[in-house]
Subunit: 339 residues, 2 copies
């Protein structure tokens, strides 16, 4: 039986040889969303970037409880840089496994491969999905599920899911964040990189990710892509069907009018996106409904954001909030999810 990716924890966050925070998106996400999993940060000698955490070398971090070094930054091109290799070898020697979301496989470097084998350490590439995933079976499962969906890629589906899972738990509910992308998997400590799964198994992977649970348990599932995206709609639809969500939250970025990176693809309206997403979701969960909109208002002043949120809520007659701006609007979105 296949299982989710399950990462050794807690982590030592490796920042490589970066001098600024541009490439630290994964590290920032881990620091902000999984502080209990992050023991310290570590970087190449002389590098200037920092997450503002305690600095430890691998041996020290292992003594403090760390079990894996996580590549918490990206490189241009997504590879593993030569300058990192001595640091990664030091981590293996210190008893840490290595977790990477880079394009290059860790084991493709013979130095890492040989050291890991000699020391009995694991090299974990989280772009590699679990083996032997099942075909989706479409059977209903117990427990409650929420999936974040979007009008486009890269507009807050992961942070919305993390925020909602945290809000559910703050209300005393039993809720798990279920990760489908690399940073999400590192934050959750487990998950499936859904866009790396062979297409025939996407719905089955999503079923595995949010298995049958107690009737009152919530799985809050990180969405991927968009059913309105000409490159990735198939991934999003397989995830939607396999997740069998009771609740959808539609994520949108204020002011975005076109699919990022493509020409000739205007975004759907909020209303069109809600109605199509719910219609598609009802294939596997006839009770699926949209609880509201997560509106990314990054870059707006507090006033302008409140105004954009209020106008969107009026126009579509739905609860709307930016989870990055806690307050009454977000509380109402949470209420609507749980109603």
């Amino acid at each position: 039986m296949s299982a989710l990716i399950d990462l050794p924890r807690p982590y030592l966050l490796f920042l490589g040889d970066a001098d600024d925070a541009t490439f630290l998106k994964t590290g920032l996400g881990l620091r902000d969303w999984a502080p209990a999993l992050c023991v310290a940060e570590y970087k190449c000698d002389g590098a200037l970037a920092s997450l503002g955490m305690p600095v430890m070398r691998p041996g020290e971090a292992h003594a403090a409880g760390a079990r894996a070094l996580v590549l918490a930054m990206a490189s241009i091109g997504g590879g593993i840089r030569e300058a990192w290799i001595p640091c990664l070898l030091e981590a293996l020697e210190a008893g840490l496994d290595i977790v990477s979301g880079a394009h290059d496989r860790l084991s493709a470097d013979p130095r890492l491969q040989i050291a890991a084998e000699r020391l009995g350490r694991r090299l974990i590439d989280i772009r590699t999905p679990p083996a032997d995933l099942p075909i989706g079976n479409g059977r209903p499962r117990t427990g409650k599920r929420l999936l974040t969906v979007g009008t486009d890629c890269a507009l807050g589906k992961k942070y919305t899911a993390l925020s909602l899972a945290a809000a559910f738990r703050a209300r005393g509910l039993d809720a798990d964040f279920r990760a489908t992308g690399q940073t999400g998997i590192m934050i959750a400590g487990s998950g499936i990189p859904i866009d790396a799964v062979v297409s025939d198994f996407v719905a089955g992977a999503a079923e595995l990710l949010s298995p049958a649970a107690d009737p009152d348990h919530w799985d809050v599932i990180e969405g991927q892509g968009s059913v309105f995206h000409p490159s990735y709609a198939g991934v999003s639809l397989g995830l939607l069907h396999g997740s069998q969500p009771d609740i959808l939250v539609l994520c949108h970025a204020h002011g975005r009018e076109n699919i990022v990176g493509l020409s000739g693809y205007p975004l759907p309206s909020i209303g069109e996106a809600v109605s199509m997403s719910v219609r598609l979701a009802r294939l596997t969960n006839p009770a699926a409904r949209c609880a509201g909109v997560s509106l990314n208002t990054a870059g707006l002043s507090a006033e302008a954001a409140a105004d954009a949120i209020a106008r969107c809520a009026d126009q579509w007659n739905l609860p709307v909030a930016d989870p990055m701006r806690p307050g009454r609007a977000f509380d109402e979105l949470v209420n609507a999810c749980l109603a």
Copy 2:
């Protein structure tokens, strides 16, 4: 740059050690749809199954022009049976490459692997998609495209596409059948096994499969799965978006009321299936339209089939035909595709 799977041809069809035709679906498809590619049949000593073709051993077939031995039957479980190995080695020795759609990889057998290396032969597993597939870009392409879509799996999408491509050519048009499944790829001699592609690349693979062409050229693309199937809808949607079809032909099996192999999943009505398929297709081709219905009437008498076709056409006000039953109805479906 990645390319389609491109098979060495013509073929010697290998029937293994089967005694009856139950497992010969691929062989029957090749014999019926690609007779010019099939030099002869070949089987283990004593096996009784036959496609009714000339029988040749590999050396003889090679002398007659064959360039590949094709595993033209399935085994229970999809593996490569021990009894076949001596025959496959004989084929390699005779100068033939081997083409397989089995679950087991040919190269996983060291005897085949070593012989192929020594002889400079290729072991081609058509379940393995090409490397380095692109992400879909959604850009319009020149040329005309038709995609067969379905209310379910396994109801005639491949045969419908083959029949329409043949009918287009019979009318003097320049038309290619574009294969997305194993048997289809063997029939076409090239293609991409779309359900084996990593989900992120499905739309890109479909774009590669039906590239920009002369304005009057038709690609007639083999559909896979169904956007109404809870296990495979994502595959179908990625193929739909990447294919950018001008024309959809909806395939349905007369009398089928539920998704095969699942409980609780009634098929959509023809009307619902047409309207949803066209709506989804219009994301990447705003001019997409459904030309009609391919109704699988296998098992019905000629009279009952004609009646079922007429009733379906009346009910939905669309051209309806069973491509396995040539005649006026099919001619009208072809007219509607080309209108």
